[in-house]
């Protein structure tokens, strides 16, 4: 696309660049979809015939309109791609988009008769919606600080891109028993929730520089939340694709296809047992023509070239300008304390743009904000933006001495809320406000909770706590692993909410415990307040909410919640 030369800086941060073949493929795909839509509108295709075709192109029919889910491969975007989202939001939607926990974006107000034009507009910026739905391998997700984090040993984007290329239109894995999600991390701290995915990969580098992977399999949320188990401790880089191929083959052959609720790989692993599943995979792996799938170092190097570090300036680690700005502006200092992450390169830092203004809609971003963020990415972050799995955006490479200027630019845009990891940094799915599968609304519950605790000082006192709200058991907002998880349930056509406590999505992954009977819509905020008041009353010095919960268990919270019931 021509836009890449328009406003982006001369040298951008690492972004995988499409070649002529990729672009022609996308154009052909748009033309094919346009024909399918035309045939549907003319009556040549019934809804039953058309539905799988539109889903393959990321187009869902939701409560009020069609929804288009566009992939953001492993959450990495160029500034021009962000601008193109703004174009789609303005031209085909109502001027905004919604970033999801899968590091994708959804447009909520698409018309079927304009869907092909919307997809063509995305394709102009090397974007697409392929494999964002259906029983195939979905967008590979990763750490939003990839290539920047101080605790990273391997850049997971390289392998996420390799997996993207391997899994896109993989002929054998286009009709799996159910959807399949892969997450990958290359840092000490797991920020990709690898134990909650069908396959989770933790990349490690040994003393000689060789890369290997811990392979986890069989995790997932939804109706039956299960943590993955580690099937291989040290899979050499060269064997990655062959081994994943073996796992997928076993799943494809043996995974349940009769009952949609029993079709994910986690159920297969649970039913046959971990030992037997491992055996089956190893047998398949031994049988495979492994040489054909060998991941050669040259291939890795070629992909790596796309993610070469941007031209960082040589700077001191400590930054006097940043320290002075923090001293002079307490609000900025508080934002820095919450919304930044240490960078591996001296003098740089990663900045998180919170999409959770108090009372706002978690993950929503207006077209004007998208354009402004793209400009700021060009100015301060080598023209690159990340989508995080907690529905925020990240500028991964910002000079510390420019952070104050960035923050000042974010403020008038409503994008400088300093609440990352605090309780108003709520993860919420579209819920019953948009989603056809929902039991209950999630967004207004998030808004009410955030408004109840609007005072950031109070939030700082409470400390880090993740609240995740899903509108149904599909768990798109990962409520099972929220410190406080809220699940919308249907009771005779009315909205109720089940609360879980003590979940975790990181290295110490854990499924939360259900506190007891569910709460009505207008009781949920009070219940959350009761939980947090109980925590404040019993916490010991230095304890975060999750620490207190692990020490005390459910009892004191349950007592407080139901004592007066």
């Amino acid at each position: 696309m021509d836009g890449l030369d328009r406003t982006a800086p001369q040298v951008t941060a690492g972004i995988y660049k499409y070649d002529a073949y990729d672009r022609q493929f996308l154009r052909d795909r748009v033309a094919e979809f346009r024909g399918q839509v035309d045939r549907r509108l003319a009556g040549a295709l019934s809804e039953d015939e058309f539905k799988p075709l539109r889903l393959m192109n990321g187009l869902y029919l939701q409560l009020h309109a069609y929804m288009l889910r566009c992939a953001v491969p492993y959450g990495v975007l160029s500034s021009d791609q962000m601008r193109q989202f703004a174009v789609v939001a303005r031209r085909f939607d109502r001027g905004y988009g919604h970033f999801t926990t899968r590091q994708n974006i959804q447009f909520n107000w698409i018309k079927l008769e304009e869907a092909a034009d919307a997809i063509a507009t995305l394709a102009d910026a090397d974007l697409h919606a392929i494999q964002t739905s259906g029983n195939c391998i979905r967008n590979v997700t990763t750490d939003e600080y990839a290539g920047a984090a101080f605790d990273e040993s391997v850049d997971p984007r390289v392998y996420a891109e390799i997996l993207r290329q391997w899994s896109t239109l993989h002929p054998e894995f286009s009709f799996l028993p159910r959807k399949f999600k892969i997450a990958i991390t290359g840092a000490a701290r797991d920020r990709a929730a690898i134990q909650l995915h069908d396959i989770g990969l933790a990349a490690r580098r040994d003393a000689s520089g060789a890369v290997s992977f811990e392979v986890w399999v069989g995790g997932g949320m939804g109706r039956t939340p299960i943590l993955a188990y580690r099937i291989r401790e040290r899979l050499p880089e060269a064997e990655t694709i062959a081994y994943l191929e073996a796992i997928l083959r076993v799943y494809n052959a043996l995974g349940g296809r009769e009952n949609i609720h029993k079709a994910r790989i986690k159920i297969l692993v649970r039913d046959v047992g971990q030992a037997r599943f491992t055996e089956l995979v190893e047998q398949e792996y031994a049988r495979l023509p492994r040489e054909r799938y060998r991941l050669e170092p040259e291939v890795v190097a070629a992909i790596q070239a796309h993610f070469a570090p941007p031209p960082f300036a040589v700077l001191p680690q400590a930054d006097a300008a940043l320290a002075a700005a923090c001293d002079g502006d307490a609000e900025f200092a508080a934002w820095v304390g919450r919304n930044t992450h240490p960078h591996k390169v001296a003098g740089y830092i990663s900045a998180v743009i919170s999409l959770k203004p108090i009372g706002g809609i978690p993950g929503d971003c207006s077209a004007a904000q998208m354009d402004a963020i793209a400009d700021l990415a060009d100015r301060y972050a080598f023209g690159e933006v990340r989508v995080s799995h907690v529905q925020n955006l990240v500028l991964a490479h910002v000079r510390k001495d420019e952070l104050y200027a960035l923050w000042q630019a974010l403020r008038p845009l409503g994008l400088a809320t300093g609440n990352v990891g605090l309780l108003s940094d709520i993860i919420a799915c579209p819920g019953l406000d948009y989603c056809a599968l929902a039991n209950a609304r999630a967004i207004p519950v998030a808004q009410l909770i955030a408004e109840r605790f609007a005072d950031l000082h109070r939030q700082h006192d409470i400390g880090s706590v993740y609240i995740n709200i899903s509108g149904c058991i599909n768990a798109c907002a990962h409520h099972h692993v929220g410190h406080i998880g809220i699940l919308g349930v249907d009771r005779k056509g009315e909205e109720y909410y089940q609360i879980t406590l003590g979940g975790s999505a990181t290295n110490d992954a854990r499924i939360g415990d259900i506190v007891g009977p569910s709460f009505a819509y207008d009781q949920v905020t009070d219940a959350v307040e009761t939980i947090l008041r109980s925590y404040l009353a019993i916490r010991q010095a230095g304890e975060l909410f999750i620490d207190t919960y692990r020490r005390t268990g459910l009892a004191p919270f349950k007592e407080a919640l139901y004592a007066t019931a």
Binding site: A42, E47, L112, Q447, G493, E494
Partner: protein, 112 residues
């Protein structure tokens, strides 16, 4: 997947669907007209809804609507109001677009 509400006794019913070309929520009105306003919906009783559903099936075959179904309502002065929360959200649109509605707790009230 659409939530089907089984006709229960004498509860009045309306017929709804999404419009094919843009996905918008529509309600079957008199004379087979599909309207975006629930106030225009034709009211059926348990026995009469079969005629509405048959008209809707015809509209589906003619590429006007997708996946029609019947919805239980109560008749209010302002028009029919669905019993289920899901359908009430389909009537008013996302509550998140209407902060005043949200603040006033009108949807929560309606849910009681």
């Amino acid at each position: 997947m659409q939530a089907k509400v089984k006709a229960r006794g004498t509860q009045p019913l309306v017929v709804t669907a999404n419009r094919l070309r843009d996905g918008r929520v529509v309600w079957l009105g008199g004379g087979g007209i599909w309207s975006e306003r629930v106030g225009d919906a034709a009211i059926f009783d348990g026995a009469g809804v079969a005629a509405g559903l048959s008209a809707a099936a015809q509209a589906e075959a003619e590429q006007i609507v997708v996946a029609p179904y019947e919805v239980e309502v109560t008749l209010k002065p302002g028009g029919p109001e669905p019993l289920r929360m899901r359908e009430r959200v389909r009537v008013v649109g996302p509550s998140v677009l209407a902060p005043s509605v949200l603040a006033a707790g009108m949807l929560a009230e309606a849910a009681e």
